[in-house]
Amino acid sequence: MSYKAAKIGVTGLVLATVFGILLYTTLGESMQYYKYVDEVADSPEAWTGKKLQVHGYVVPGSIGRKRDRQEYRFDIQRNGKTVRAYFTGAPPDNFKDEAEVVLTGQFTSEGFVATDMTAKCPSKYDEAKVPVTR
């Protein structure tokens, strides 16, 4: 019994270590910081060169588009802090004023240059709970 248990234990330990190391090494390449706009708005320089996801809301009226190009410039904000953002490509269907978006990209001297954008799923599922009135 103890021999068998030891065998299983050692095998499990070795496998767990191997997978742990593998996970750790592969993680490094694909990790991205996930930040809200107000967390990064004050010190974008600190994030320059790091791959980052930024979560915020599109400032109404800020969306501008280059003629003949799918290049967008807009502002995203949260809790009063704002960041200028650039995006090239086809935006999601629900990209519009006040949309909740997550941008993936990097900070440059101009602002946040996004390579990828997802917008809040226009879910029929409840977004915010209303006070119970019953």
Partner: protein
């Protein structure tokens, strides 16, 4: 009405509590009246939930916007179909729908097992009732679907998001729920077995079928979600490792693992503890995935909202669940000793063990990566995410390992494989794999993972073909029938095994689809009219924009002509739709030209009407349709595995004379639907042949983008309009081609579903004839076999088969199932 609904929920809660308590009391006192009262109360819950469900559907259909839930998920202009299905459109209704399904499933499970597993039934009732109580409690205190407005009542609902007004999105959630709810039944049986201590294999046999049914729904539900994402979201893919997608995948992994490891316990009496752990884990994951997507614990734009109170309740429930389940498991450990020891790594048991390892590791990995932002936030204070590349980096090798195991596992013998039977078993599949792999390399494949995937697929298909072939040959010898009857009899004798192989075929088809994704191409072009885009063999020409409107939405359509090898192939119409009152949420309507080899997938992501310009995304997705075929095959395989024992009884006959009838009967069964259809069709004809033909080719103008025949919209105005036009043309004495020409002339070319002679259509037309011809050949061959003397078949060519192999196969056939 709303008040009645709420009282029904309260009543259901009380009845559940009664059912749980009285069942346990009855079991402990061995009192039959108490037990029957418990089961009766359990059925009553199903009745109450059915009534409550009909109440909420009534509110949706009649537009009772004083109910908050109805007001938030529907409006008066919604087609009836979407009104009814709004029942599960939001969280509150989903929970109620969940309890409703659970009460039906539970009732059925108890009904079918009330005699055979009498000692387990009271605890099954108790476990399911307690789970129902949790969800009912959640509704009563927090998510009451019958909640009304306290002040003034709105007269109109806020409607359903246009993206969700899609057929697949309507059936995707309930299919998933059926899967999740179905997985509660094995858990209830497992817990009942743990509580009572009746831990022989009988509870496993009882839940095998339930697990398979639930697994089928879960698989199909995942497939439907993928189809929805592919057709509706317009980014050219179907899976992006989003937390909500991953959530549904987690219990699928562990349920699949359980379906495999259960065989080891049945056959060898091993892995008993492991099986119970899998059942508990699977059920836990169905609860956990709800928690993950609904409570806001995972940061994702696709998670369905944040709700700390809901999170607290779920955490309490999950902690209780883990403590109680594993507590009982530890308490019963002495009863769960293995009957056998593990013999060799070269055995079927070991293959199953590997399979389980990989599936459970997949579940663990997906869970880990999905929860990584939350974990890192808790540990380091920084929220760090991992993207789809990380998932792919891990899941591609894991998936490939799983695929190759699918090929190897069935070739290994139980207990221990000898070198001799290894060589015998592996020769053909390995050659098949090498042949496919070699061909792919010779063709100059660029993506290593896809190349390996094709090779492994060849191996798996080789294995399955060999299994069917050898099994059928052995059976042919022992029963002396023809090969075809032998094959049917083989599957009939051992439905679960051969149904399982069919599912393996389905997995191979899906992997073909995954492998194809390695070769996809994409272009984004800012197009002016006349501009041509080259992709693969295709040239896509943008012809211009067109604006149309029906009662519910405005449609901006890009008109595209597709050329291949210089010849015009078809026309395609990607569009943007603006639903009235929801103009700010346009939907992207993708145009897809499907074929076996690849999908041409067009998206119009933006446009400028004044300058007639459009941003066009052109995707070329190779082999993607094989993924959907795979899901179809998976459903068929599961169906075969689930068939009742009597279904194949006629083909089990030993005597050739009976076998002849067997084949005849089977042919009759195959042809029977056709006969029924033929009979059925006669009284139902509403249209002349010409009308019916045109109806199939002309698109309905109500906006459903289907043909007149298949327009499913309630109160469709487009169909009536076009039918009037069609009848007018016919009354003018026009022929089919002239009618079509007249339609094109009056309505523009986009009125046609598709050009009548594109490549895929031709294939679709050919298929019935090919099938018919194949059937004819089968009949002729069968007839020839029957007319031959029976002895000739038994003695001659088959003597070459290895007698040891024969004995082993026969042995396995006898023992399994």
């Amino acid at each position: 009405m709303a008040a009645l609904g709420y009282y029904l929920l309260l009543a259901a809660f009380v009845v559940c509590a009664y059912a749980a308590a009285i069942s346990v009391a009855g079991a402990r006192r061995r009192s039959r009246p108490l037990l029957e009262s418990g089961v009766g109360a359990f059925y009553l819950v199903a009745a109450i939930m059915t009534t409550a469900s009909s109440l909420i559907i009534h509110a949706f259909v009649t537009g009772d916007y004083s109910v908050r839930y109805v007001q938030q998920t529907s409006d008066s202009t919604l087609p009836l179909f979407y009104k009814i299905t709004s029942y599960w459109g939001g969280l509150d209704g989903s929970i109620m729908f969940w309890v409703f399904l659970l009460s039906l499933f539970g009732g059925a499970a108890v009904y079918f097992n009330r005699e055979r597993h009498r000692e387990l039934v009271p605890y099954i009732v108790a476990v399911i009732s307690v789970i129902q109580m949790f969800f009912l409690y959640l509704m009563i205190v927090h998510n009451n679907p019958f909640q009304t407005f306290l002040t003034e009542n709105p007269t109109e609902g806020t409607g359903l998001s246009p993206l969700l007004q899609n057929f697949y999105m309507v059936i995707h959630p309930p299919t998933m729920y059926l899967g999740f709810v179905g997985l509660t039944i094995p858990y209830a049986f497992g817990m009942a077995a743990l509580i009572t201590g009746h831990l022989d294999d009988s509870w496993l046999r009882a839940v095998r079928r339930w697990t398979m049914i639930a697994w089928l729904f879960l698989s199909v539900g995942l497939g439907l979600g993928m189809i929805w994402a592919y057709e509706e979201l317009g980014w050219g893919g179907y899976w992006m490792w989003d937390p909500v997608e991953n959530a549904g995948l987690l219990p699928w992994f562990t349920a699949t693992a359980f379906l495999h490891s259960v065989m080891v316990q049945e056959r060898r009496g091993m892995l008993k503890v492991w099986n119970i752990v899998l059942v508990i884990t699977t059920f836990f994951l169905t609860i956990f995935q709800t928690f993950m997507t609904r409570s806001g614990i995972v940061q994702s734009v696709h998670a369905f909202g944040q709700d700390p109170e809901l999170a607290r309740m779920f955490i309490m429930f999950m902690v209780t669940l883990v403590v109680v389940s594993f507590g009982f498991l530890i308490y019963r450990l002495p009863l769960l000793r293995s009957r056998n020891e593990f013999d060799s790594w070269l055995s079927r048991e070991a293959a199953f063990l590997f399979n389980n390892w990989i599936l459970v590791f997949s579940a663990f990995f997906v869970l880990f990566a999905t929860m990584f932002p939350t974990l890192s936030h808790a540990v380091t204070g920084e929220r760090i995410t991992v993207g789809p590349p990380f998932f792919n980096q891990w899941m591609i090798p894991i998936g490939l390992t799983m695929l190759v195991l699918t090929g190897i596992g069935p070739l290994l013998a139980w207990r221990k494989s000898t070198v001799l039977n290894l060589r015998d078993q592996f020769l053909f599949p390995t050659l098949a794999g090498l042949a496919v792999g070699g061909t792919v390399v010779a063709l100059g494949v660029r993506v290593w993972s896809s190349g390996i995937c094709f090779g492994f697929s060849g191996l798996v298909m080789g294995t399955i073909a060999q299994e069917f072939w050898r099994g059928a040959r052995v059976r042919q010898q022992t029963t002396g029938t023809d090969l075809f009857t032998a094959l049917v009899g083989l599957v009939g004798r051992n439905k679960r095994r051969y149904g399982g192989y069919l599912i393996h075929v389905a997995i191979v088809l899906m992997f073909l689809g995954f492998a194809g994704a390695g070769f996809k191409q994409k272009q984004i072009v800012e197009a002016t009219p006349g501009q041509e885009i080259e992709i693969g063999d295709f040239i896509v020409r943008f012809d211009g924009l067109k604006v149309t409107d029906d009662a519910r939405k405005q449609m901006v359509t890009g008109e595209m002509t597709i050329f291949r090898n210089g010849a015009e192939l078809t026309r395609m119409y990607p569009a943007r739709w603006y639903f009235h009152r929801r103009e700010s949420e346009p939907t992207t309507e993708v145009a897809i030209r499907r074929s076996f080899a690849e999908d041409l997938y067009l998206v119009m992501s933006d446009f400028d009407l004044s300058r007639q310009q459009a941003s066009i995304e052109v995707h070329l997705n190779p082999l993607v349709n094989w993924l959907w075929f795979g899901f179809g095959m998976l459903a068929f395989g599961t169906f075969v595995a689930l068939l009742p024992d009597r279904a194949f009884a006629f083909a089990d006959a030993k005597v050739p004379a009976h076998a002849a009838t067997a084949s005849m009967l089977l042919l009759a069964v195959v042809l029977w639907p056709a006969a029924v259809l033929a009979q059925d069709a006669a009284p139902r004809v509403r249209f002349t042949a010409l009308e019916e033909q045109v109806r199939g080719e002309v698109m309905c103008t109500c906006g459903c983008r289907r043909s007149l025949t298949f327009c499913g919209m309630a109160n469709c105005h487009g169909e009536a309009e076009q039918m009037a036009r069609l009848r007018e043309y016919i009354s003018q004495g026009k022929s089919h081609n002239q009618v079509i020409a007249a339609f094109v002339n009056d309505m523009g070319a986009e009125i046609l579903m598709s050009p009548p002679d594109s490549g895929f259509n031709r294939l679709a037309w050919l298929l019935p004839y090919v099938l018919g011809a194949a059937g004819l050949v089968t009949i002729v061959m069968t007839a020839r076999r029957w007319s031959r003397p029976a002895i000739a078949g038994a003695g001659g060519a088959d003597a070459t088969l290895d007698p040891a192999l024969d004995a082993r196969l026969d042995d396995e056939l006898r023992d399994l199932d």
